[in-house]
Amino acid sequence: MLAKKVEEIKSKSLAETQKSVSERELFDVKVKYLGRKGKLTEILKNLKNLSTDERKKIGPLANRARQEIDKALAARKHELGARADWEKEKIDVTLPGKKQELGHLNPITLVNREVEKIFTSMGFEIANGSEVEQDFYNFDSLNIPKDHPARDMMDTFRVKSKNNDLLLRTHVSAIQVRYMEKHRPPFRVIMPGRVFRNEATDSSHEHTFYQTDGMMVGKDVSAANYYAIIDEFLKKFFGKNIKTRMRPSFFPFTEPSFEIDFECLLCKGKGCSVCKQTGWIEIIPGGMINQNVFTAAGYKRNQYQGCAWDIGISRLAMMKYKINDIRLFHSGDLRFVNQF
C-alpha cells in the first residue's frame, strides 16, 4: 500500500514539476512534496514506525523518489532559468549601428577612373601635362593660328608672364604635341586633366572642368579604327546595347573631323527634351590628326596617320549620375560628395 503511495507521490510531483513555468511554482512543488511537512518527507519521517521488513522495502524506494524529484526540479529550474536569461538579454536589433567615418570620392574621380580603366585595358598609356601652358602647345601647334575664329570657341585665361605667352590650358589637347615630341609612333595614349575657360558660370557652364583626350598614332591608323575605339569605349561605359553614329564636324587639329553621337537612352531615338528631339546625343568630338599637328611636333608630313578625340569627363559624370548642375563638382558640399 505504502509503496503504491510513494509511486503516486513521485509521479504526481514529477508531473507538477514539468507543468511549472516559474521558479515560484517549482518552489511550491518542492515545498508540497519535499518540504518539512511535504508529502514525501512525511513518509520518510514515518519510516521509523514501520516494521523492519517494510522499512527495508519503502526506505530505498522513498529515498530514490526524493532524489528523482530533486533532480527533476533542478533540471526544470535550469530549463526555466536558461529561458528567462535569453529574454532578459534581448536587444533591439533594428537600432542603428555605430556610425563609422566613411570617406567619399568626388564623382569626377569616379568617372576618371572608369574611363582610364577602359582605355588602359585597350593598351593606352596615361600622360600628364601642365595646367599652365604656352600658346604654342595650346593653340599654334594644334593648327589654331592667332586671330583665327577657332580661338573664339575657347575663351582663354591668360597668365601674366615676361614673354606674355602663358595661359591656363583650354583643353587637354595641349598635351598632344608635348607627348609627340618625347615619343615616337606607334603609340596609344590618353591625357586626363583639368581645363579652364574664361566663361560666365551657370548650371551647364563652368570655368573649370575635366577632360580626357586620347590619341593613337601609327602607320595606318584609320577613321574606321577610330570609330571602333570610340564605339568600344561607349559600349563599355554605357552598356553594350548602345547605338552610335559618326558624322562630319570640324576641328582645326583633325582632318577629317567627326562627331560621334549615341542614341538617346531615354527615348531610344524617338526624340525627347533630353536629346532636343533629335534622338541622338553628341558625345565625342574627334578625328584624324591633322598633318600640321604632326609637323608642329617635328614629324615629317604624311609619315604617320593617327586619330585623336576628346571626352568631356564633367559631362559624362553629369550624365552617369544625373547631376543637373555642373557647379556641384566644385561646391565642396558634403551633402553632394557623400552620395558617391
Partner: protein
C-alpha cells in the same frame, strides 16, 4: 545660319521634306540646330562649321551640298558683270587688306519697299527688311555668301578710298553708335571722310535713305584677320563681318555684284543705269590643284571606295578631276578656300560617301601592356587611403583672390596672376590648397558637426623656366565640434595611418619655424622624413578661422605628393613572428616643462636597444602643475625568453638614463 527651305528647294531641286533634308545634311555636312515651320515655309538653322564659312554661309553653297548628296548637278543661271564701263575712282592703299574692290555707281534709283517675296525670305533668314536697295544687298549676300554694301553717292565726294583709319578718327555707324577708330581699322572713305568700317558696318551719313537717287554699290574682299581685329576691337559682329572673318573667295565679288545689279534694275527703279564702275583686283585668284593619292584615301578612311566613286564625289562638288591609276589631280574651285591638302579632299570624299557606311575596324596593334603612369597611380592610392580614413574628396578652383592671399598671410609676389579674370576670385593661381579647404569647412559646418575632407590638386609658383613650377599637393582638414580633446592628435593619427599605409617611415614632427600665418603658432608641426620636408600639419590659426567665418576649431594638413611618392615604398619583407613571449612594463614620469615626447621616446629606444619592441604613450595628465606621462613598453627577445632579472635590469637602465639625461622624474 538660318536658311529658307523653299529657297533651298528652288535652287537645288530637292524633293525632300524639311525633316529629310535636315537629316541628310546633319549626317553629311552640317548639324541642324533648329527647325521652325510656318505654312509652306520652314526655317532651318544649321551650324556651319568654321572651315566652311567660305562657301556654305549661303543658299547657293547649301544647294550645292544638297545636289552633291543627291547626285545631281547644281544649275545656276549665269549672270555676267559688265566690266567695259569704267570711270569710278577707287583707290586701295593696302591690297593686302583689301584684296578686291568692285564699285558700281547706279543712277535713277527709286527707294521703295522691296517685293513681298523678298521681304518674306529675308525674315525667314532673320534679317529685317528696310528698303529695296538695302534688302537686295542682303538678299544677294544670303544667296551667294558675298556681303555687299550700298552708299548714297550724293553724300560722298564720288570716289572711294580704302585706307586704314587715322588715329582717333570718328565714325557714326548705321546702328547709330559712334566709334573712335584705332589706326589698324580698315575704312572705306571718300576724299573727305570715312564712309564705313570696311566689311563690318556702313556709316550712318552715307547710308541709303528714302531720298537717295544715286548709289555706289560695293562688292569687295577683305583680309579676314583685319576684319576680325576691327570687329573685336569695337565689339560688334555683323552678318558681313561674320563672313569676311571666315575668309571668302575674291571671285565671289563679281558674281554677287552682277546679281545685285540685275535685281536693282528689276526692283530699284524704272530707269536704273550703271554709270561708272571699277574693279580693282591686283592679284587674281585662280583654281589650284591637289595631287591625291588614291591609296591614301582608303588608308585614312579605312574603307575601300573604288576610284570611279571617288572621282564622282569630287565632281559633284564642282571639283575638276584628272585621274591616273594611282593619283587624282583635283582642280579646286576658288570658292572652296578650305580645300588645300589631300586630307581636306579625303574629308569631302568620306562625308559625301557617308561615315555611316564606314564600318568599325578594330586596329591591328601589337599586344602590349601600357607603361604605367606612376604619378597617377600614386595619386589614386592616396585617394583610396584618404577615403578609407574617413576623408571625403573636394575639388577646389585653382584660383583665389588677393583677399585670400592677405587673409592667409601669403606673399602676393609669389603668385602667378591671371591677366583677364572675370572676377577678383579668379585673379591669382593658388600656391597653397588650404584657402580652398577652409572655404569647404565653412560650407560644411552649416550641415555637419564632424567631418574630414581632402583635396589633391595643383599649386603653381612663378618660379620655373619656360613654364611655371606646378606641384601636386594633398591637403585636408578635420573638424569635430563635440570632441573636447585636442583634434590636432585626431588628425595626426589619421595622417600617420595614411603614411604608414604608403610605406613612409621615420616621420619627424618638429615645430615649424616659418610656416606663414595659416597655422597656429604653437600647435603645428612640419613633417620631415630623412631631412626632407614633406608637409605640415596643424591647427588653423584662430585669427584666420575668424577671417573665414569659421567658429569651430579646425586641424589641417598639406603634403607634397611628389615627395611622398619618392619616399613611399610598397616593398615589404616578412619578419618572423617571435617564438618567445614579450612582457609589458609601464613607466610613468613627471617631465620638465617644454620637453617633447619624441625626445623621451628616442631616449628609451636608445637605451633599450632592440629588446624594446614597442613604445606606446597611454596617458598624459597634469598633477600639481606638473606634466605626467605614462608609457607602456613591450620588451622581448627573438632569441630567448627573457628572465625577470634581465627585464628588471633593462628597466632600471632605461629609468636611470631618463632621469640622468632628460631630467625626468620617474614615479615609483
Amino acid at each position: 545660319m538660318k536658311y529658307s527651305y523653299t529657297w533651298l528647294k528652288e535652287l537645288s531641286g530637292t524633293k525632300k521634306t524639311p525633316k529629310q533634308l535636315a537629316e541628310l545634311l546633319t549626317m553629311h555636312a552640317f548639324e541642324l540646330e533648329d527647325m521652325k515651320t510656318e505654312g509652306k515655309e520652314t526655317q532651318l538653322t544649321f551650324d556651319i562649321l568654321a572651315n566652311r564659312g567660305h562657301d556654305a554661309l549661303s543658299h547657293i553653297g547649301m544647294a550645292r551640298e544638297i545636289c552633291a548628296l543627291e547626285n545631281r548637278q547644281l544649275n545656276l543661271p549665269a549672270s555676267h558683270f559688265l566690266t567695259n564701263r569704267k570711270g569710278l575712282s577707287v583707290k586701295i592703299n593696302d591690297t593686302g587688306l583689301c584684296r578686291r574692290y568692285i564699285g558700281v555707281a547706279l543712277e535713277n534709283i527709286k527707294v521703295a519697299p522691296s517685293p513681298k517675296w523678298m521681304r518674306a525670305r529675308l525674315l525667314v533668314c532673320g534679317i529685317k527688311p528696310i528698303n529695296n536697295i538695302v534688302d537686295i544687298t542682303n538678299y544677294v549676300m544670303l544667296e551667294t555668301g558675298q556681303p555687299l554694301h550700298a552708299f548714297d553717292a550724293n553724300k560722298t565726294t564720288g570716289n572711294i578710298i580704302v585706307r586704314q583709319a587715322k588715329k582717333g578718327e570718328k565714325i557714326r555707324l548705321l546702328d547709330e553708335s559712334e566709334k573712335i577708330m584705332i589706326s589698324k581699322n580698315l575704312v572705306i572713305a571718300d576724299s573727305e571722310k570715312a564712309l564705313a568700317l570696311a566689311g563690318v558696318m556702313g556709316g550712318l551719313k552715307s547710308g541709303v535713305m528714302n531720298k537717295t537717287k544715286k548709289i555706289i554699290l560695293e562688292a569687295a574682299n577683305f583680309d579676314p584677320v583685319s576684319i576680325r581685329k576691327t570687329r573685336t576691337a569695337h565689339n560688334i559682329s555683323t552678318e558681313s563681318s561674320y563672313r569676311f572673318e571666315r575668309d571668302i573667295d575674291s571671285n565671289l565679288a563679281e558674281t554677287a555684284a552682277a546679281r545685285a545689279i540685275e535685281l536693282i534694275r528689276k526692283y530699284g527703279g524704272k530707269n536704273v543705269k550703271a554709270v561708272t564702275t571699277a574693279d580693282i583686283y591686283p592679284k587674281k585668284i585662280k583654281p589650284w590643284t591637289i595631287k591625291l593619292d588614291l591609296e591614301y584615301v582608303n588608308s585614312l578612311l579605312g574603307e575601300n571606295i573604288p576610284a570611279n566613286k571617288i572621282k564622282k564625289i569630287l565632281e559633284s562638288l564642282d571639283i575638276k578631276v584628272k585621274s591616273s591609276e594611282k593619283y587624282i589631280i583635283a582642280e579646286i574651285p576658288t570658292i572652296r578656300i578650305d580645300l588645300k591638302t589631300q586630307e581636306d579632299l579625303i574629308e569631302e570624299i568620306g562625308r559625301i560617301y557617308g561615315y555611316e557606311n564606314i564600318s568599325a575596324k578594330v586596329p591591328a596593334v601589337e599586344l602590349s601592356a601600357p607603361p604605367v603612369n606612376e604619378k597617377r597611380v600614386f595619386e589614386d592610392k592616396l585617394r583610396d587611403c584618404a577615403t578609407s580614413l574617413g576623408f571625403s574628396e573636394m575639388l577646389n578652383y585653382s584660383f583665389y583672390s588677393a583677399d585670400d592671399i592677405e587673409k592667409c598671410g601669403l606673399a602676393i609676389d609669389e603668385h602667378l596672376e591671371v591677366a583677364n579674370p572675370m572676377n577678383p576670385d579668379q585673379q591669382y593661381l593658388r600656391t597653397v590648397l588650404v584657402p580652398g579647404i577652409l572655404k569647404n569647412v565653412e560650407t560644411n559646418l552649416k550641415n555637419f558637426d564632424k567631418f574630414s575632407i581632402f583635396e589633391i590638386g595643383r599649386i603653381y609658383s612663378n618660379h620655373g623656366q619656360k613654364l611655371p613650377d606646378e606641384k601636386t599637393f594633398l591637403a585636408g582638414a578635420l573638424v569635430d565640434i563635440e570632441n573636447k580633446k585636442e583634434i590636432f592628435f585626431e588628425l595626426k593619427g589619421k595622417i600617420e595611418a595614411l603614411l604608414e599605409k604608403l610605406g613612409i617611415e621615420n616621420i619627424e614632427f618638429s615645430e615649424p619655424k616659418v610656416a606663414g600665418t595659416i597655422v597656429h603658432p604653437t600647435r603645428a608641426a612640419v613633417m620631415r622624413v630623412r631631412g626632407r620636408t614633406i608637409g605640415y600639419i596643424g591647427k588653423i590659426n584662430p585669427k584666420i578661422l575668424g577671417e573665414y567665418r569659421i567658429k569651430n576649431r579646425v586641424a589641417a594638413f598639406e603634403l607634397d605628393t611628389q615627395e611622398m611618392q619618392n619616399l613611399a615604398s610598397s616593398l615589404r619583407e616578412y619578419r618572423p613572428i617571435s617564438k618567445f613571449p614579450s612582457v609589458k612594463r609601464d613607466i610613468s614620469m613627471f617631465v620638465p616643462e617644454g620637453m617633447a615626447y619624441a625626445d623621451i621616446e628616442k631616449e628609451i629606444a636608445k637605451s633599450g636597444g632592440r629588446l624594446v619592441k614597442n613604445i606606446e604613450l597611454f596617458d598624459v595628465f597634469e598633477k600639481e602643475g606638473r606634466k605626467s606621462l605614462a608609457i607602456r613598453l613591450e620588451i622581448g627577445s627573438d632569441k630567448k625568453t627573457l628572465t625577470s632579472a634581465e627585464i628588471d635590469g633593462m628597466m632600471k637602465k632605461i629609468v636611470s638614463r631618463l632621469e640622468k639625461d632628460l631630467k625626468v622624474k620617474v614615479r615609483k
